[in-house]
Symmetry: C2
Subunit: 228 residues, 2 copies
């Protein structure tokens, strides 16, 4: 059965997108614009949440640092995505960290404003519930993939997922090897070797940091365990 890339997408842009123009304006007005330079932390594991973030420009990675210092990245947020509200809403400390992969323009909605919005916009609670319900499925799928699929299939799958995530704004996949390794859940060296194989099999093109998908159909097959 074909792997569905959409099952790995939080669709966090739907929350805002589903609001009426009036509510949306209200929401956007409640935020303050912040700028995060590439590699700057937006929030970090163990920190106390002070608000939520809406990405207006750029991409950011959500990750956890393991005890051995190795990061596990489990999502790359994109322009339009709302994030960082989980810990805020359950009154816990951040379970994860968020770092800008590129220079980012972000709208910050403070905790009090966010809670205020939840009351002002009756629909918002339900939209959050819907979105988090969906996210649950995404994470469950992520767990299964990481725990079960061999490296080659994981890489194929994540290249397709990232391609989708990067496509929205023009570009090809462009992120450090180390990050890609931490998404796929492997060592940098093992990743490099496989990327080379993929290139030799003409599945992708590599131009330094840039990875360009050449044969999505075949990658799809590999990701779906249909191809050896």
């Amino acid at each position: 059965m074909k792997v569905d890339v959409k099952k790995f997408d939080f669709q966090s842009e739907k929350i805002l997108g589903s609001l009426s123009p009036m509510d949306k304006e209200l929401f956007l007005k409640s935020g303050d614009e912040l700028t995060f330079k590439k590699k700057k932390l937006i929030f970090y594991e163990g920190g106390i949440p002070t608000g939520a973030f809406l990405i207006q420009e750029g991409r950011a990675k959500i990750y956890k640092t393991g005890l051995d210092g190795k990061d596990q990245i489990f999502y790359v947020y994109n322009k339009g995505d709302l994030l960082g509200y989980h810990a805020l809403l359950c009154n816990e400390k951040y379970e994860d960290s968020c770092e800008a992969l590129e220079d980012c323009k972000v709208l910050f909605i403070s905790e009090s404003k966010f809670h205020h919005l939840l009351e002002q916009i009756p629909n918002l609670k339900l939209l959050l519930i819907q979105n988090m319900s969906h996210e649950f499925g995404v994470l469950v799928n992520t767990i299964t993939v990481l725990a079960q699929k061999p490296l080659r299939e994981r890489l194929a799958l994540y290249l397709l997922i990232l391609n989708e995530r990067y496509r929205s704004e023009d570009t090809d996949i462009i992120l450090p090897r180390e990050d890609l390794a931490n998404i796929v859940g492997t060592a940098r060296e093992s990743l490099g070797r496989l990327l080379k194989e993929f290139r030799e099999e003409e599945l992708i093109e590599i131009d330094n940091k840039i990875i360009r998908i050449k044969d999505p159909a075949k990658l799809q097959k590999i990701a779906s365990s249909e191809y050896v």
Copy 2:
């Protein structure tokens, strides 16, 4: 740093537990009692959700079946837990399956009743939001553990987690090796080897299916990568 077992607990019993006695009664009245024999499916991946479930007696596993037929279990629900509402709330098909590990008594709340309750009990939406926000953290932690920790540490950790999950009701950990392997994310044989080692190191006692924790402190150390 010590691993916190609570960070792997959905705390799904808090939803009901946080309702006022009146609201709780209303909730409980909206359900129909069902019985599921051991190994019976409560719902399954790809199925269309028709309601939510509250476990009144017994335990159930939530899992996904990989393309190779191997299951990945990512949670064991317990008496008092509310489950199966995610797919319901985002209008998607079930992303996972749920099977009774023991004979279960379950309260079924149909979709229409559940939505009705969401309107009748104003607090319920927020409780769901809080709970799902917390669940997000749990799943994120699960991903990191499965993707990064070596088998030995994973097993130590999950033994502690399961011990907590089984403690509520008297017993020691009692579930088939295959299931334990599918929780820890390994092959049955590899699990068996390690269990034997753990027994030889006097960390656990094994009595057929039953696993009894003997040295939680040392298991904790292993789980926290502090012990070789």
